[in-house]
Symmetry: none
Subunit: 133 residues, 4 copies
Amino acid sequence: MIKIDVRSNEPIYEQIISQIKESVLKGFLKSGDLIPSVRKLATMLEINPNTVSKAYQELERQRIIITMRGKGTFIDSINMNNVKMNDNKLDEITKKIKPLIMEMKYLGMSDNQILEKIKDINKELSTGEENEK
Amino acid sequence: MIKIDVRSNEPIYEQIISQIKESVLKGFLKSGDLIPSVRKLATMLEINPNTVSKAYQELERQRIIITMRGKGTFIDSINMNNVKMNDNKLDEITKKIKPLIMEMKYLGMSDNQILEKIKDINKELSTGEENEK
Amino acid sequence: MIKIDVRSNEPIYEQIISQIKESVLKGFLKSGDLIPSVRKLATMLEINPNTVSKAYQELERQRIIITMRGKGTFIDSINMNNVKMNDNKLDEITKKIKPLIMEMKYLGMSDNQILEKIKDINKELSTGEENEK
Amino acid sequence: MIKIDVRSNEPIYEQIISQIKESVLKGFLKSGDLIPSVRKLATMLEINPNTVSKAYQELERQRIIITMRGKGTFIDSINMNNVKMNDNKLDEITKKIKPLIMEMKYLGMSDNQILEKIKDINKELSTGEENEK
DNA sequence: GTGGTCTAGACCACG
DNA sequence: GTGGTCTAGACCACG
């Protein structure tokens, strides 16, 4: 399910966070689904348990997952609901996207080509249902 | 011209790189324009010359600027020309953008809202002339 | 393995780069081989870790080595593959070799003697296997 | 006659040295030929007179040129004669050539292709007469 | 004055 | 423990 690229600059724990959130967005993981324990996932991915733990803690903080004592870790039911359209957060994201858009321009891409690329990503990051029409 | 946010997670040298590239894209800096020396910019920004040096070296590697012995450092004339639509590079950028688009979705933004945001960034990163029609 | 000549005009970090690339060419270091960490090599060579770091970063940029988070630094598998017979690069090298060939002529060496010298270097820089026939 | 590349990493004074020595090797400049004064050459090349001066001093040290008080600077008659087949010097040159040969190998050139390249340079650096047969 | 190199030393994120 | 980033400060070649 989760694939780690050890060569990547992106920290492993962020790769885990990102991929779980992606699976939720795509509908592969739904509220209540059980996900592997820290140790199990660490073994599966051949990485340090601390790394998985760090990812899970962050996911819990973001209310994406929830750990039930003695029962395991599950996808939280309230995800997507914590939509308080946080402007600070959006500014922060925008600040990070800008240099990447810049890179695309330096690669010679036109504004339209860039928009198409974003549309592709949008499409990839959806359940499929929403895009039918 | 350049503004450094010392509290940001983004390394200072990357902030410098990013802002100079942005100025070039926007047309504020053009081929042949002289930019401040390492020491001068370091003094202006109240940071260590080594940090500026690191930024300049990377910009030179990317052919954005060029240092001419004893004459100073200039915006290079061949920027934008190294457009070999590098697919690897584009993949790399896409990998970095995806988690940010995901974040926007988790903030509750619709695909259209995301696209509008990107259009804003595109507009901001242009000389103004190109967008008239 | 690596020997640094502190009195040389050649910067230490370039000596490191050069010697690691040489070891790869000669087959002493192969894809996947683990090389010492920045700190360890710095200690071994009795130089500053920053200097080793600079060398490793350049080697990584050239795809000679690759750093895997938490696992260490390795010889990359794709070296030699990025053979796009870069003419610009070749011109650049030729420009640097010319004055050295000139020096040999000023030392009184004939064209043939110069060629023999180059053959020696070629032989030295090979795995041994390739030259058998 | 002399062309300076201000963008090059090669110091300007070395470019001057190199080009004058090249002209002598090629027979364009011969014993007794008058070359421009420091100031004149500096003006012609639009560079600092100190830079030309430094080049001339080194050329004089190498007995390539000679300055006659009040008469000007000339190509020396004894060049090529100071052939004391200096082994130290040759070792030094070899040390500098090796990394360049390595670069060619990393560009994917075969030993033969490298030798051909050197032959080209040899040919370029001769008077023409020697190569006739 | 200018950039390039290097050291010593520090702090931090990651694992 | 490991690499990445940054500072302070030094020395040197070049112009």
